[in-house]
């Protein structure tokens, strides 16, 4: 189960040459984060300004991340990226540091998303990407992806996160995404299990292509807005296209949080503040091809970028869009077990 293996690949994204003496004197700030989720220029700027280097540790599975935060090694980390649906539970369970109230809340797209334990970093839409050069017709809905037409068989890459899997299945089935109804869950599991025979793998498409840049196996996959642009850049060709699925828009928001056991809360807070600056956020947003949560930051972005509908939603879309819902521990466990059972089924069939 590749996707569950946490990438403890430590990258010395250590600050730039400037202030080398200063940097060498300071301990690096340890950040637990998705791979390639931070603009190196921004990091350089931070280190130049503060003299504090940043050391990133990557994860590619949210439940694994939660186990890290709940485990003994959590104290190693200072800053962590947590998705909005988990940030409050993890905070309430005492694994995250409570943050001072953010004065920018009124100028945010999703003011409540990160709650009192997080500050929004980037947001985007959860949708579908496909290979323009491979498929006969665009994959426009979750239903088309989960009950795929013949040409897609063996070329579907599913995103093996419990929330993402069930959200896709619920939307395809027409169920509310936050449902905990047993029948709904069973139907969703059945749909996913049926689909598994068409699935190439359950890795995050971006991670898979980063590892296998030459691969042409996957033609359609669930993905986050911005992934299409990143993948085209990665593979150096304009073949990936992002689609907002017909059944409805689901929005993700990733939040900066401070690990409860961090010994450097001040530096961590300073880092989060730096990242939340409008000009930094605007820069990060463009670099990551994801939306900035700060409306003021958007204003200083490239007008083309501002108007890119794969990044920012229209007013109407914003009204219809839903965030990934939050669940209780038991419900999270149920969803996790559905995912695990699916992967086990996939591996044995």
């Amino acid at each position: 189960m590749r996707i569950l293996s946490v990438v403890f690949c430590v990258l010395g994204a250590i600050g730039a040459s400037l202030g080398a003496s200063l940097a060498s004197a300071r301990e690096p700030l340890n950040v637990l984060i998705w791979e390639d989720f931070i603009d190196p220029d921004v990091l350089t700027e931070w280190t130049q300004k503060t003299g504090i280097p940043v050391q990133q540790t990557y994860y590619d599975d949210e439940s694994e991340r939660d186990l890290i935060l709940a485990g003994k090694s959590a104290s190693y980390f200072d800053v962590v990226i947590v998705n909005e649906s988990a940030v409050n539970q993890m905070g309430e369970a005492g694994y995250l540091h409570s943050l001072k109230v953010n004065d920018k809340h009124w100028r945010e797209f999703w003011p409540q998303a990160c709650g009192s334990y997080g500050v929004p970093y980037l947001w985007g839409t959860y949708g579908i990407i496909y290979r323009k050069d491979k498929v006969q017709a665009p994959v426009r809905s979750w239903k088309e992806l989960l009950s795929p037409r013949e040409e897609l068989t063996g070329h579907i890459g599913m995103l093996g996160q419990p929330d993402e899997l069930l959200t896709s299945a619920f939307l395809a089935l027409g169920y509310p995404v936050d449902s905990n109804n047993q029948t709904h869950l069973e139907d969703a599991f059945e749909l996913l299990r049926e689909q598994s025979k068409h699935v190439f793998n359950y890795e995050y498409i971006y991670s898979y292509i980063a590892d296998n840049p030459e691969s042409d196996d996957i033609w359609a996959a669930p993905a986050y807005s911005g992934d299409a642009a990143s993948l085209n850049e990665l593979q150096n060709k304009d073949v990936w296209e992002f689609v907002k699925p017909k059944e409805g828009l689901t929005v993700w928001v990733d939040c900066w949080a401070i690990v409860a056991s961090s010994s450097r809360v001040d530096d961590a807070q300073k880092f989060i503040d730096f990242m939340s600056r409008d000009e930094i956020s605007a820069k990060s947003s463009e670099a990551m091809y994801a939306a900035s949560p700060f409306k003021d930051a958007v204003l200083i972005q490239n007008p083309d970028f501002q108007e890119d509908t794969t990044v920012y939603l229209t007013e109407k879309e914003l009204e219809l869009a839903n965030l990934f819902p939050s669940f209780s521990g038991n419900d999270m466990l149920q969803r996790l077990r559905i995912r695990d059972a699916l992967i086990r089924y996939y591996d044995t069939h």
């Binding site: 209780s328 466990l333 059972a341 699916l342």
Partner: protein, 774 residues
């Protein structure tokens, strides 16, 4: 029956019986051990099932041990009911269990139950995310506490082919160690349930294979296991036995399988061995015999001269070689004898048989092509002379050379293109078959053949005075079939011979007529009554003074059917047919009888000259017979003169000379008739014991010509010098008489003097002559 069929009938039954007996023996042995084998097989399967069971069971025990070790279990109990923490701890436990079991796909349940019997953790490692704690697990946990056993295991029957191994441990809820007293408060039970899927699969396989459901029996040690050989048993847990009965039905079935297998194997084996055996025998034994047989067929149908000589040393090759040699020898002998049969051994020319074969075929061809076939008969003239005078060796040499000459002629440019065959028929007779398109060819060839003998015939050692008489008859002109052609060619050849030899005659109607007349004469001679039909005439001859000195006796034949027949005509026929001695006898007797009558009016000194054939001199008893007759008729010495025609060669033979001397001594006079036209040189002739020569009419004619007249006198003188009197024949006029008289001839005979006359006429003539002479 062919060898192959016989082979099949002999080998196949024996082979099949052998294979059947072997198979039956094998079945006997196999079926005895079959039961044993089946028992062992079943034991192994039970063993395998047990191993599967133990594997599943050990997984359960290991997972239980794992949970007792480390902090997970305490964390779990502490976080129970604390929403997110419980989620995280549970997730961690799931991961832990998954990691431990990462390789296998055992369906495993891990349940932690508090002392009230409520599950505080339940995880099913399967592809069912909605699993709930089964009742039997809860019951097991409760009973574990009630039984106060810290560790317990149980085989759980879920349904007929679904079992589970349940392993439970009772722990103190605070220390997570072995409780001080099991069954007291504050206990938790960790239950690991392993679904023995592999084991269940084995059980199902066992049932499918053996047709009976395997039994799992809990039997206390006090109970003795039933001692049934047919029920095999294995202990999979203490006091738990897996048992299966080896039924008769199953054994019967496997025995049937054995029989089927044996039959199949025997059949395949039998057929294969038979096929291979038949093939090998056919290929290496029968085939060579067939080849030999085919070869013999080719030989007997004459498509081949002999069989191909086999190479090799095996019996068949040796047989073939022996046959080859035998046939070769037979063939050689056959060819030799055939050659002998159709070849003349002396000249190596084809013989009469071959001649007839060839001629027949040539006639058939000529009939088809509308062409000619001529038969050319060759008879060597005077061959007898060569044989008699020079010996048989010379005769043989002559025949060989003549044969060569004929062959060479036919091989020459002129005749090579034509279909010819020369053969020796017999003695000095040869025949040539000539196939030709132009009728004139036969005359050319015949002329050439005669020409070969111009001036005599030369061999290595001799120049012989032989010539050839050739007769030709052609198909279709002169005969329709071979028999007729042969007869006609022969007839033509005789005609040539009679016509004077050294010439050829082609068959014609006149020849046929002549031949017919010859035949009539022959027949008439056979039955002639001499006294009725023969008569004698007398031709006087006179001396210089015109005195009648003697009479040449001539024979006349008047046949009622044939009329007058001259001696020239019938004498040669009589000589050939052997009737001449009868005629001779009659002539001598009558002539001798006439002597006394003649003496009465011609005087006692009258001489009677009688012609004899030179051929008769060769007969041994001729002389003695004549002498006896002379005595019988009391003929005085010198009264009879024998005139011998100087036919070719006979005087040269010593035997003839002896006879002549004998006759002369007996009182016969000897004269040579027709002297001058023969072959014998004059000088040689006068050495012979003769008293008189009669100059032939032609010699007389020639010597009385002006051209040769001067030779006349010396010739007469020469005879006189040898004391030989000379008679001139053919004196036709008085001038000649005068010339001859002056030349010194002693006697004269001819029409100018007198014709041949009967006795009566002679008397009348004599009456007239006497005064005339006066």
């Amino acid at each position: 029956m062919t060898l192959t069929k016989r082979l099949v009938l002999l080998v196949l039954p024996i082979l099949l019986v052998g294979v059947f007996v072997a198979a039956a023996g094998m079945y006997q042995v196999q079926s005895d051990t079959l039961t044993e084998v089946e028992q062992t097989k079943l034991d192994l399967k039970l063993q395998h099932a047990k191993a599967q069971f133990e594997q599943d069971a050990s997984v359960a025990a290991n997972v239980a041990s794992l949970l007792l070790d480390g902090e997970t279990l305490p964390a779990l109990t502490r976080s129970a009911g604390k929403d997110v923490e419980e989620y995280l701890v549970t997730q961690k436990l799931d991961r832990l269990i998954d990691d431990v079991l990462s390789d296998g796909h055992t369906r495993l349940l891990v349940t932690v139950i508090d002392d009230l019997g409520n599950p505080i953790y339940h995880h099913e490692r399967s592809d069912n995310p909605f699993s709930e704690t089964p009742k039997f697990v809860l019951n097991f946990a409760r009973s574990s506490i009630l039984k106060r056993t810290q560790t317990s295991s149980k085989l759980m029957f879920i349904n007929s082919f679904k079992h589970a191994y349940v392993h439970g441990r009772v722990l103190d809820a605070s220390t997570f160690l072995k409780p001080f007293r099991v069954g007291s408060d504050n206990n938790i039970v960790v239950v690991v349930t392993s679904y023995t899927e592999a084991f269940d699969r084995d059980l199902r396989t066992l049932q499918e294979t053996y047709g009976v459901t395997p039994k799992l029996i809990n039997r206390l040690p006090s109970f003795k296991a039933p001692d049934e050989a047919m029920t095999r048993s294995i202990e999979i847990l203490p006091n738990f036995y897996l048992e299966l009965e080896l039924t008769d039905a199953y054994l019967r079935h496997s025995r049937t399988s054995l029989v089927d297998w044996l039959i199949a194997v025997s059949l395949i084996f039998g057929v294969t061995v038979a096929a291979v055996l038949l093939y090998l025998i056919r290929r290496y034994i029968i085939r060579p015999i067939e080849i030999l047989d085919d070869q013999l067929d080719l030989v007997t149908s004459a498509q081949q001269n002999n069989i191909q000589r086999p190479v090799g040393t095996d019996e068949l090759s040796r047989l073939g070689i022996k046959f080859y040699d035998l046939y070769d020898q037979l063939n050689t002998n056959l060819n030799e004898s055939r050659n002998l049969a159709i070849t003349d051994s002396l000249t190596k020319l084809p013989n009469r048989t071959r001649f007839q074969e060839f001629a027949k075929r040539a006639i058939v061809r000529a009939w088809n092509r509308k062409t000619y076939v001529s038969l050319i008969y060759i008879d060597l003239d005077n061959f007898k002379f060569v044989n008699d005078r020079l010996g048989h060796e010379a005769g043989d040499e002559l025949l060989k050379f003549a044969a060569n000459a004929f062959e060479s002629l036919l091989q020459s440019e002129k005749y090579r293109q034509q279909g010819t065959l020369v053969s020796r028929l017999a003695g000095d007779e040869f025949a040539i078959v000539l196939a030709h398109d132009d009728l004139k060819d036969r005359e050319n060839l015949a002329a050439d053949l005669v020409g070969l003998f111009d001036g005599g015939f030369k061999t290595d050692r001799y120049l012989t005075p032989v010539s050839a008489s050739v007769g030709v008859a052609s198909y279709p002109e002169d005969g329709e079939d071979l028999r007729e052609l042969i007869a006609n060619a022969d007839m033509a050849m005789y005609h040539a011979k009679r016509s004077g030899k050294s010439r050829f005659s082609t068959y014609s109607h006149s020849i046929a007529g002549d031949a017919r007349r010859v035949k009539l004469i022959e027949d008439a001679l056979k039955f002639v009554n001499c006294d009725d039909e023969f008569s004698l005439v007398f031709m006087p001859f006179v001396d210089q003074a015109g005195e009648i000195k003697g009479l040449e006796v001539l024979l006349r034949w008047y046949s009622a059917e044939l009329g007058h027949i001259t001696p020239d005509e019938f004498v040669p026929i009589a000589e050939q047919t052997g009737t001449y001695s009868k005629i001779d006898d009659w002539v001598f007797r009558n002539a001798f009888d006439h002597i006394s009558k003649l003496c009465t009016f011609l005087g006692d000194d009258i001489v009677v000259a009688i012609n004899i054939s030179a051929a008769e001199l060769g007969q041994a008893d001729f002389a003695s017979k004549l002498i006896r007759l002379k005595e019988e008729y009391n003929v005085s010495d010198g009264a009879v003169e024998l005139e011998i025609t100087e036919t070719f060669g006979y005087f040269a033979v010593e035997q003839v000379l002896v006879v002549l001397r004998g006759l002369r001594d007996a009182g016969f006079g000897i004269s040579i008739d027709d002297f001058g036209i023969g072959y014998t040189p004059l000088l040689q002739m006068i050495d012979y014991p003769v008293d008189k020569v009669k100059f032939d009419k032609e010699l007389v004619q020639r010597l009385t010509n002006d051209q040769y007249r001067q030779l006349l006198e010396p010739t007469v003188e020469l005879c006189h010098l040898q004391s030989i009197k000379v008679t001139a024949e053919g004196v036709e006029d008085l001038d000649k008489l005068s010339v001859l008289r002056h030349a010194g001839c002693d006697y004269f005979q001819g029409y100018s003097i007198a014709q041949p006359m009967s006795l009566v006429e002679l008397r009348e003539w004599h009456e007239r002559y006497l005064p005339l002479k006066q």
